[in-house]
Symmetry: C2
Subunit: 343 residues, 2 copies
DNA sequence: GATGGACATGAGAGCGCTCTCACGAGCATT
DNA sequence: AATGCTCGTGAGAGCGCTCTCATGTCCATC
């Protein structure tokens, strides 16, 4: 079994190496009988082509990279990222690609990782998580001409291909939902203020308020960092402003906020309503189930992979962009169901 | 810049390709002057060897795989796994290895993934997450002779190299801590009953009880699945048994349990004490900070990579095992500090 | 029967490295 | 002076594939 090559398969099937290669790569122009005979040999021997040799000869590695720059520390505090990673893994499985993971803890890591990522013959393309200014890795990788898809709108997006959800609209939907239900003092808990996700969601929040003829009040905004703990802290700062509803920019921050409010005896949604973003599983498992803006996380991952494949096969120009839509999921944390019953 | 090869570097440095190769691979027998000259050219051109060609010629890919079989669904519900993944990524960065990630959602995925993992010339070795019976991937991969390290004691461990923490001892420590503090009715929330982690921790719990001359009562055990939601549910089943302390087999289940107990107005640790496992960041961010058994998660990942490298370089026989120690971290959820003050 | 095209297969030149071997220079040993 | 080292370098044979090109066969067409 050791060192079983194309040549060996060819010998067993009584054909030339080239023909076996054609069978493996599904190229036409192989007679049905021969194809069958070769496939039989491959089957019975369990032959697998050597990945390195194939890469070298075809100039394709059939592997893509997933790069998490140092700025994506929420990989560990927000379940969103593991889910996204899963979606990406699915996308790879579907397309017979392998996935290589690069995690950078700090700038030093990034410098160290960079040459490995950019090494020729290693990756066909990369997916880069993003959304903060000063993205060293995005800058370098896109300049190195390796096909790249940025996950999440990058800070400077000119010429870059990226995929994102429609955050502005999503936040409008969320805020509008609270406005429609009659809430008057709507506060918001954001993620890191310098991330594009947070900026876009804050913008949507403002837009919805304006559209309803309300004024935006900066004191109704508290900054978190997409962790549960930060939601827990942020809401403490917000409560003195007497909000009757809160737009939390992620489910996990909403969970943190709810934890604090319940600890001090506030009822949700009677005292304060709250809406989240993501629709991660925990949203459904709370004692007061969370109303939220569902992101198609798995589809997001799959689409990202497909976009990257497109760039690899058809060139990276012009830059392409995919914006996915979101969906309002009404549960119990905003009181919509009760109102409907009462009316 | 396109297609810049060893040969080109050699030409620029006025030496033969072989010499450049020697410089790159740090082999001795290169005169200092020549080495310097070559390094200069490499520096100024930014030359990076082609990964595929190197793999093909050297029969080493400098890449390892991290395999999460379908049984590891807690990748998404327990922050432990993202942290472990980070540790592994660090280990790889330290050793100039690349990491390839394989996530299987179900048996079908596993079948599909298997040939890609086992493909010759692709991976130097694999890390396989484990701990449940019927591990199709562990079975196949270890049989395929690719160097493998199982992460977490596998169900059938004969002949396999693995790394784990000392779960039995960890659970003894946790339970003993509660016993020492005078708690009488100590219950436990386990993970999935067929996982080795849970089995080992349950065994430690029993051992500690026995050592203290107490009887083990199966009704004081509730099964979870390492998710926050399962802790929340499990504690409901446990409360009718009137426990005064709980050993939760993971921090995140402890968090769930605490959430329920606080919702119904129980005080921690006055009414019920609770201890967790892992020491993930959230343990420190709770209103009642969680006493827990700290696992060296990052070191765990790094050690796993080092063990795998050992197997790759020095052969897989005999099987090697690494058992890491844990540490009791005393915070507020068991009342230890208060008692000390009162005395 | 001569011509041409479609299709199936074989031949063999790479892909860009590593690694063993050969070679020659320089030095110490007899 | 002959011999044997060590050491630095060049030569070139692979590693196991893919892919273009050449070749041969079969059949339709005039």
């Amino acid at each position: 079994m050791e060192k079983f090559t194309l040549e060996d398969v060819a010998k067993l099937a009584g054909v030339h190496r080239s023909t076996v290669s054609r069978v493996i790569n599904d190229s036409p122009n192989v007679s049905p009988q021969v194809r069958k005979r070769v496939q039989k040999v491959i089957q019975s021997t369990g032959y697998q082509p050597n990945a390195a040799a194939r890469s070298l000869a075809s100039q394709r590695s059939y592997m893509i990279g997933l790069v998490l720059p140092r700025s994506v520390s929420s990989f560990f505090t927000d379940p969103f990222f593991p889910h996204l990673t899963q979606g990406i893994a699915f996308g790879c499985n579907n397309n017979n690609l392998s996935l290589s993971l690069f995690l950078a803890g700090n700038r030093e890591d990034e410098e160290k990782i960079l040459p490995r990522i950019a090494r020729r013959g290693f990756l066909d393309g990369v997916l880069i998580q993003s959304g903060r200014p000063d993205e060293f890795l995005i800058d370098r990788l896109t300049k190195s001409n390796i096909p790249s898809v940025i996950i999440g709108r990058p800070f400077l997006s000119d010429g870059l291909s990226f995929i994102d959800i429609d955050n502005v609209n999503a936040a409008i939907k969320a805020t509008q939902h609270l406005i429609d239900l009659g809430y008057q003092r709507i506060a918001t808990i954001t993620g890191n203020h310098d991330s594009t996700v947070s900026m876009d969601r804050l913008e949507g929040y403002k837009k919805a308020l304006n559209a309803a003829g309300r004024e935006f009040n900066p004191e109704m905004v508290a900054e978190g960092d997409f962790s549960e703990a930060s939601g827990y802290q942020a809401v403490k700062l917000l409560l003195p402003m007497k909000p009757d509803a809160i737009v939390a920019q992620s489910d996990i921050m909403a969970v943190g906020a709810m934890r604090w409010m319940q600890e001090i005896g506030l009822s949700i949604p009677e005292d304060v309503a709250i809406i989240g973003f993501d629709d991660i599983p925990v949203a459904r498992q709370l004692n007061v189930q969370l109303t939220t803006i569902r992101q198609p996380i798995t589809r997001f991952g799959i689409k990202a992979v497909e976009l990257l494949i497109d760039l690899i096969e058809n060139g990276t120009k012009p830059a392409r962009r995919i914006i996915l839509d979101t969906e309002l999921v009404i549960r119990d944390s905003c009181g919509a169901k009760k109102i409907r019953v009462e009316v």
